[in-house]
C-alpha cells in the first residue's frame, strides 16, 4: 500500500510550535541563523518576541537555552543536527543533560536527505551520540503527525530531549487521531517470517518494503520505534520472540544507533540473530536524495532485496 503524501517534518515542527505558542507562553524558539531552513521562521512570524536569534554561534546557543530553562521557559533550540550535536556537545552534556534541564534540541536536516549539502551537513551519527548521554530522551518521528504529537508531549513533559527533524516532504504513516506515548513503540504490521525494526522517516520506507516482501510471500512484522531512548524493550523482545529473526533499518550509521540499541537489548534478554541495515562507517557526500538512498540501500526496493537475501542465508 502506497502511503499518502505528507509535509516535511520541518514544516510540521514550525507549525506545531507556532500553535503551541498561542496558548503556552513558556515556549520559546532559540535559532542559530537557520530559521529560514529549519521551519523555525514559521514561529518567528507568529511570535517574533519569543523567537530568540543567537546568530551563528551554536555553543553559546545551547548554553543560553539551559539558562532559559531555569527561568521556567521551554526552549526549543533549532539548528541543523550536525551543528547542535557535534558543535555544541559539551554544552549539551554539561549544561543540559547532567542538570536535566528542560531544553528541547531539534536537530534539523538530520539523516541522508539534506538537499545536496554534503559531508559537513549530513548528520547520521546524531542518534548514537545523543543516546549515549545519560538523562537524554531521543525521538525520531516518522511523519508530520507524529512530529506534531511528539512536540506536544515533550512540551508537557519536563526534561532534556533530542528531536530528529528532517528536510524533505515525507509520506504520512499515521492518521490525525494517532496518539504518541513517550517510550512506546508502535507495531505497524504483524508477521511471522522476520521482524523489521525502524525509526524516523525511514520507517515509511520499511513499511513500503514490507508490502513488496508480502508479494513474494515473505510475511514481515514491522515495528516502529520513535523513541530511541528510553526505548520500548518489551515491544522489541516480543517482536523478536514472534519471528526469531530481527533486522533493523535506519537512515543512520549502523554503529550505535537504533540497530545498536536493539542488539544490546536482545543480546541481554532474548538472543536471536540481529542484522543491521543502514549506513556503514562512512561520512556523507553531495548527491541527489534518491541516489543517496539507493547507494545506502535504504529505498523500499533495496530493503526488500536485502531482507530477502538475509532470510535466504539464514535458512541455508
Amino acid at each position: 500500500m502506497l502511503l499518502r503524501e505528507g509535509k516535511a517534518l520541518r514544516v510540521a515542527f514550525g507549525e506545531t510550535l507556532a500553535e503551541l505558542g498561542n496558548t503556552d507562553r513558556r515556549v520559546v524558539v532559540v535559532d542559530g541563523d537557520l530559521g529560514s531552513s529549519t521551519g523555525a521562521d514559521i514561529f518567528e512570524a507568529a511570535h517574533p518576541d519569543r523567537f530568540l536569534q543567537m546568530g551563528i554561534a551554536e555553543q553559546n546557543m545551547l548554553g543560553v537555552a539551559a539558562g532559559l530553562a531555569t527561568i521556567g521557559f521551554v526552549p526549543f533550540v533549532s539548528t541543523f543536527a550536525c551543528f547542535a550535536v557535534a558543535r555544541a556537545l559539551d554544552q549539551i552534556r554539561v549544561l543540559i543533560a547532567q542538570p536535566k534541564l528542560n531544553v528541547k534540541i531539534a536537530g534539523g536536516y538530520a539523516g541522508l536527505l539534506a538537499g545536496k549539502t554534503g559531508k559537513t551537513h549530513l548528520m547520521f551519527d546524531d542518534v548514537s551520540i545523543m543516546r549515549a548521554l545519560a538523562n537524554m530522551t531521543v525521538i525520531a518521528p516518522a511523519d508530520e503527525i507524529e512530529t506534531r504529537r511528539a512536540i506536544e508531549v515533550i512540551t508537557a513533559t519536563d526534561g532534556p530531549v533530542y528531536l530528529r527533524i528532517t528536510r524533505e516532504p515525507s509520506p504520512k504513516l499515521f492518521d490525525d487521531d494517532y496518539v504518541f506515548h513517550l517510550g512506546v513503540a508502535s507495531r505497524l504490521r504483524d508477521g511471522r517470517d522476520v521482524t523489521l525494526i525502524s525509526t524516523g522517516v525511514q520507517t515509511t520506507r520499511v513499511y513500503e518494503s514490507a508490502d513488496l516482501l508480502a508479494k513474494e510471500g515473505i510475511d514481515a512484522l514491522v515495528l516502529h520505534v520513535p523513541t530511541i531512548k528510553p526505548i520500548d524493550e518489551a515491544a522489541i523482545v516480543e517482536a523478536a520472540r514472534e519471528t526469531g529473526f530481527v533486522i533493523t533499518v535506519e537512515e543512520h550509521t549502523i554503529l550505535g544507533g537504533l540497530g545498536g540499541a536493539v542488539a544490546e537489548i536482545l543480546g541481554d534478554q532474548y538472543p536471536v540473530p540481529v542484522k543491521r541495515l543502514g549506513i556503514r562507517d562512512m561520512f556523507g557526500e553531495s548527491g541527489p536524495d534518491d541516489a543517496l538512498l539507493e547507494k545506502h540501500r535504504l529505498s523500499p526496493a533495496r530493503i526488500a532485496e536485502d531482507v530477502r537475501l538475509l532470510l535466504a542465508r539464514r535458512v541455508r
Binding site: G55, G118, H121, S286
Partner: protein, 289 residues
C-alpha cells in the same frame, strides 16, 4: 609564480564571467548558494590572479601561499576561480554538488587539488588557518596564509579564540579577509519579517579585530585594484596578523539578488537566469533569449 599580469579591465571581465559560471553551476546542480559567492568573487579573482604565490599545475608545491575558504558554503566561487586560474577544466564546474564530483557542496581537500582545507562548518576553517600559519613559523617557511570568513561567521566564538592565539604568537604571516556583506542567512529581524539586520553595525567588526591586536585595513571588496593593494600590503606586514575588512554587497552583480537575504541559497527560475545573464553581460546567444 604570478599569473601573466592582467589588466584591471581584464580581471573585471573575468569576474563577470565567473559570476555567470557561478549561477550556471548552481542552476545545473539545482542547489547551492549565490549571495555569498557573488559577494566574494572579486576578492578571489584579485587573490588568485594577483596576490597568491601558487603553481596551478603543481598544487601541492610546499612553499605555495595557502588559502582557506572558511565560509565554505561559498565553495562555487572558489571552484570557479580555481578553474579560471587553470587548476582544472572549466567544464568540470557543471559537476558541482553532484554525486562523485570533486566539487562537493562544501570544499573537500581530499578530493580536489588546490584546496588547502576542508570546510563547511562555519568558524572552523579560520582556526585551521591559525594552525597553518603557526606551523609555517615553526617550520621556518616564508609563505603567507590567507583565510576568508563571512561577517555572519564572525558570530562564532572560535573566530575570537583563534584571533587571540594568532596575536599571542604574532602571526604576521596570517591574513584574514572578512567578506562583510552585511547579511547572514536569516539573522536578526528588523521592523518586518523580510527586513533582516546586518550581523554587525558599522565599524563594529573592524574595531573588534583591532581590539584583538590585529592590524586592520578596510577596502571596497568589489574594487579589484583596492583589494589587490590591501592584500599585497597585508602579506608584507610584520609584528601582528592582519585583518582586511572587505565591504561588499551580498548577491553583487545581479540587481534583484543584491542585498536580499532570500538569495543566500536559492536556485533562480528561467526568467531570473535570463535577466541575471543579461545584467552580467552574457553574449546574447548565452542568455537563452
Amino acid at each position: 609564480m604570478m599569473a601573466v599580469e592582467l589588466s584591471t579591465a581584464k580581471l573585471e571581465d573575468l569576474a563577470r564571467t565567473a559570476r555567470r559560471e557561478i549561477i550556471n553551476a548552481v542552476v545545473v546542480a539545482k542547489a547551492g548558494h549565490l549571495g555569498g559567492p557573488l559577494s566574494a568573487i572579486d576578492i578571489l579573482v584579485a587573490l588568485y590572479f594577483r596576490v597568491l604565490n601558487i603553481r596551478p599545475l603543481d598544487p601541492t608545491w610546499p612553499d605555495r601561499d595557502r588559502f582557506i575558504l572558511s565560509k565554505g558554503h561559498s565553495s562555487i566561487a572558489l571552484y570557479t576561480t580555481l578553474a579560471l586560474r587553470g587548476f582544472f577544466p572549466l567544464e568540470e564546474l557543471s559537476t558541482f554538488d553532484a554525486m562523485g564530483s570533486r566539487l562537493q557542496g562544501h570544499p573537500d581537500m581530499n578530493l580536489l587539488p588546490g584546496l588547502d582545507m576542508s570546510t563547511g562548518s562555519l568558524g572552523l576553517g579560520f582556526s585551521a588557518g591559525v594552525g597553518v600559519a603557526l606551523g609555517a613559523k615553526l617550520a621556518e617557511k616564508n609563505f603567507t596564509t590567507f583565510v576568508m570568513v563571512g561577517d555572519g561567521e564572525c558570530n562564532e566564538g572560535i573566530i575570537w579564540e583563534g584571533a587571540h592565539v594568532a596575536q599571542r604568537y604574532a602571526l604576521d604571516n596570517l591574513v584574514v579577509i572578512v567578506d562583510e556583506n552585511n547579511l547572514q542567512q536569516f539573522g536578526w529581524r528588523g521592523q518586518t519579517a523580510t527586513d533582516r539586520l546586518p550581523p554587525y553595525s558599522d565599524k563594529q567588526l573592524a574595531h573588534r579585530w583591532e581590539a584583538f591586536g590585529w592590524q586592520v585595513s578596510e577596502v571596497d571588496g568589489h574594487d579589484i585594484d583596492e583589494v589587490t593593494h590591501a592584500l599585497t600590503r597585508a602579506r608584507g606586514a610584520s609584528g601582528s596578523p592582519v585583518a582586511v575588512i572587505a565591504h561588499t554587497t551580498k548577491g553583487k552583480g545581479v540587481s534583484f539578488m543584491e542585498g536580499n537575504f532570500r538569495w543566500h541559497s536559492r536556485v533562480p527560475t528561467v526568467d531570473e537566469i535570463n535577466q541575471a545573464m543579461v545584467e552580467l553581460g552574457a553574449p546574447p546567444s548565452l542568455t537563452g533569449a
